[in-house]
Subunit: 556 residues, 2 copies
């Protein structure tokens, strides 16, 4: 065994939900696995997205050889534009993952300079001292891989996100054999996804949803709206197949839904019969029972297509009495209120709303492995060291406890968190210090379709761009605005806080309110986001500054 130290350094995702990113270092060579974002907590009003603090990589930029992606979800690729704008290194990912990455980099004008390398499950490639073998796994997205990384000290396996789905809709099976072979050869360390460690048993196959969709399509008498994550390619495929079988045309509504479906079509994951897709404007020319709408906004995101359709403010998608609306996704904790607000709006329009309520067949299944699947992989891999990844502290801890009980399969279980340096050498493994990690807030600044620079919002520098708090008093029941909005500012240059500017800001807020329906005004999440967007546009235009904008609604 060569003398030297292998370091594994999670920069995010261990002890928190999202922003998965992990550095692996041997001597002067670093590879990075995934570069994900996190959606901000409600407490972080005024922020679009959150990415991991990459100072460790920036300080070591001369040594970073590549970023290797396990799959295309935002919590694994969403921080890539920021990372590449700091240091441009080669990116490795599967065909489908790279298709998502391309769109993302193009948005930020980073695509031309990027070096994207397509990898294929089972085809090994070398980066510095590492030989990497992507292993096909199943998940809610397609073309996902785990990574077996051959290092001078032995092989380590990073599972990425996975479930063990015996019947994936694309028939590309989870490669149990690869895990089994590594287990026979000997594996130094297994880093395994902890997301669903609290769930007993097995996660049902994606195919379980098909039975429910069949039922729903058979019963729907008028228009059928199906909302799922735009990256749920399996789900989109199920819906499109059912629509074709049941004689319904399909309209795609919502930018992410359209883009995602296009990519999946281009790459052969979804086979859309000629003439099945219609433009959303064509809906009104078809009988209601001949229409199926795939619509984005399953988490009640305030400005999403579904949220707007639910309050009649979408151009094409309107809910009519007797329509069926299916939320084919889980309710992410923290989003209940927003989601149930949308559901209430739909019920008020006399729609049939179908959402996850524990009934079977399920209208949604998870993409992450439950306890029995986690144990299966541990039994196959038999690692010397086991390290839980991807989870909040309680999940990592429960996963560690689960593995500790598996004496026959696991050597030693190590618990690390983001920032910990886990060091391996010929004597074993240990925590060897900490690096600086943290969260960086980003103003994604997506105004329309214009390509703009990435704006990293270092919130320490409040004094530079300041903070603007529009305060609005709304009667929740009537949606009536009770007084003229107040505009509170801090940290703005003196020249900008004159009366003219404040008046303009106030008029902007007033005009947003006037252009919103009572229902929209009664939906605080939605009206806050509308005010924030409109006010941002006004402020950037008039001051070219980018303050944090945090609308405050007073319920009167």
């Amino acid at each position: 065994m060569p003398s030297g130290k292998l370091q594994v350094v999670p920069l995010g995702g261990l002890g928190e939900f999202g922003m998965n990113c992990m550095a692996i270092r041997w001597g002067d060579d670093i590879i990075v696995i995934d570069a994900g974002l996190m959606f901000p907590e409600a407490e972080l009003l005024g922020v679009d997205i959150v990415v991991p603090d990459l100072s460790y990589l920036i300080e070591n930029r001369a040594h970073v050889r590549a970023v290797i992606l396990t799959h295309g979800h935002e919590d694994h690729i969403g921080a890539l534009p920021w990372l590449l704008s700091e240091f441009n290194v080669p990116v490795y990912g599967t065909e489908f993952t790279l298709a998502y990455v391309e769109g993302k980099l193009e948005e930020h004008a980073l695509l031309d300079d990027a070096e994207l390398n397509e990898i294929k499950a089972g085809e090994r490639f070398k980066v510095g001292p590492f030989t990497i073998n992507p292993i096909q796994v199943t998940h809610s997205l397609v073309d996902c891989v785990a990574l077996a990384i051959h290092t001078p000290l032995g092989t380590i396996i990073h599972t990425g996100d996975f479930k063990v789905d015996p019947t994936p809709t694309d028939n590309r099976l989870f490669d149990l054999h690869a895990f089994a072979e590594y287990g026979k050869e000997g594996v130094l360390a297994l880093f395994q996804d902890s997301t669903n460690v609290e769930r007993r048993g097995y996660t049902p196959s994606e195919r379980a949803v098909r039975a429910r969709f069949q039922e729903i399509f058979a019963r729907a008498e008028r228009r059928l709206f199906i909302s799922c994550f735009s990256s749920s390619i399996h789900r989109i495929k199920l819906a499109i197949d059912q629509a074709a079988e049941n004689g319904r045309k399909v309209a795609l509504v919502g930018r992410s839904m359209i883009e995602s479906t296009e990519i999946a079509q281009d790459l052969g994951y979804i086979d859309v019969p000629e003439g099945l897709l219609i433009h959303p404007a064509q809906m009104r020319d078809l009988p209601p029972d001949k229409v199926c709408v795939l619509i984005s906004g399953t988490q009640g995101e305030p400005m999403s297509a579904l949220s707007r359709a639910a309050v009649d403010s979408h151009k094409h998608a309107r809910i009519q009495p007797g329509d069926t609306v299916v939320l084919s996704s889980r309710i992410i904790p923290g989003n209940e209120k927003a989601i149930y607000r949308v559901v209430d709006h739909l019920f008020r329009r006399d729609a049939h709303v179908i959402y996850e309520d524990g009934s079977t067949p399920p209208v949604h299944v998870s993409g992450h492995a439950s306890q029995e699947e986690l144990k299966l992989i541990i039994n196959l891999v038999k690692p010397q060291y086991f390290i839980p990844i991807h989870g909040e502290y309680r999940q990592l801890k429960l996963h560690a406890e689960l593995a500790t009980a598996m004496h026959g399969s696991v050597g030693k279980v190590m618990m690390i968190e983001s920032g910990d340096i886990l060091e391996f050498d010929e004597l074993g493994a240990r925590k060897a210090g900490k690096i600086n990690v943290g969260r960086v807030c980003i103003d994604s600044n997506s105004m329309g379709d214009v390509v703009e620079d990435l704006v990293i919002r270092d919130r320490r520098h409040l004094s530079e761009d300041g903070i603007v708090l529009p305060i609005i008093a709304i009667n929740k029941v009537t949606g009536q605005v009770e007084a003229s909005p107040e505009i509170v500012m801090r940290g703005f240059g003196a020249g900008l806080t004159d009366d003219g500017f404040v008046d303009g800001a106030r008029r902007t807020v007033m005009s947003t309110l006037e252009l919103s329906s009572d229902e929209e005004k009664g939906d605080y999440g939605m009206i806050k986001e509308k005010i924030r967007q409109d006010l941002k546009r006004f402020i950037v235009k008039n001051t070219s500054r980018r303050p944090l904008i945090m609308p405050v609604i007073l319920d009167v």
Copy 2:
């Protein structure tokens, strides 16, 4: 049938979660069923509680004859102090419900003038033209009743909150016979709790939790902390019985837990063996396996006993490695983040944490009827009119759909929401207009144990007491405060916003931050609440004003 109109007017709770309150009117006589509060949404920072707008009752104060309470939960009695401070009318409730009411009225110095009338299940009483028969029902609380109200037009039944528990821990059975008899006699209208209409089947009996508690007590090797709602008398009884059987002393931690257990003991619901209860300070003198702690704070409320114990800031309750902590309650949607923050803190202290994860026997069961129970009551009562109550819009709608399908039992289903006037006369029932309803925010202003006046915060009058926004930049990972706090104010009198006041406010926030641990500072919910309370004390003391205080945390 006498000619005249019976009006049923919900003031809250229909189309929203909480603040249940319903007026029933015949001519010039009004009775009010329940007067509950609602806990504010996260969007309403700076507010303690929310109560229904009672203007309809205030305008008709000469006609209001009584408030009749179905049970003692906050969403049914929490607005009573406000109602009674507006117009003092007789209150009717069962013995246990009135015990809760007494404590509440005493806090607000309203008890001496209140006229409280104890009612008993099965004993009819008259208020104006109404004869009211309380019917014993089962629920998560004890001594709960439904109300059969005999009106000149016929009998209407209001279920209150209920489940049909065949084996309640106090052996006081759900009075199926009373419902059956009313069904035979004929019922004009049934108003039924919709809370759990989304759940199939039957809600398990409270006794199902006993099996889980037995398991937990058998396995716990060190201290055992059990957290549940302080009003979960059944649950407290189960825990105390198990502690006695297993040789553990019981310490009660948290004011609400202590008060609630005392009331339950006084009224004979809980039988505590002599010498079983200890003062929390005595814990340290006992071996860890001889201690059971009943502790409040099951929803991760920032300043609750459990939240403080979880970060070592509680005087007596400290979590040690190997302790077991049981969250015997449901995770109320919207509270996940706060609850999981507490769970994470507990895991970091190497506690075994047991919470609702779908496993059986359950560590918690609901107090509300599932679909089969709802249908059972409908089949027994066979009402001419069925009206769903207690639920958000989607739940009322689903409940209406459930009842509509029961052609053999239900005449007509009516959907009404808070503010609608539902009118009955000899020709039938119809919606007959609307009254003004809404939400009123209250600053409960509980500083220590001092009895204070109720402060109704009419948020329209921002200009009177103003708004104060302390803005603090905290590094979530390290808990470090990155800059001096900013104090933003609006609507404060000029004399108060001088530098001395702002400096004092800033110093107050600084001192709160200095006295908090890094872990507390990393827990935004908790640090916000601490800042809010300390700053409120400072401002009331120095200005005797009561602005809204909304801490803004910037994550850096």
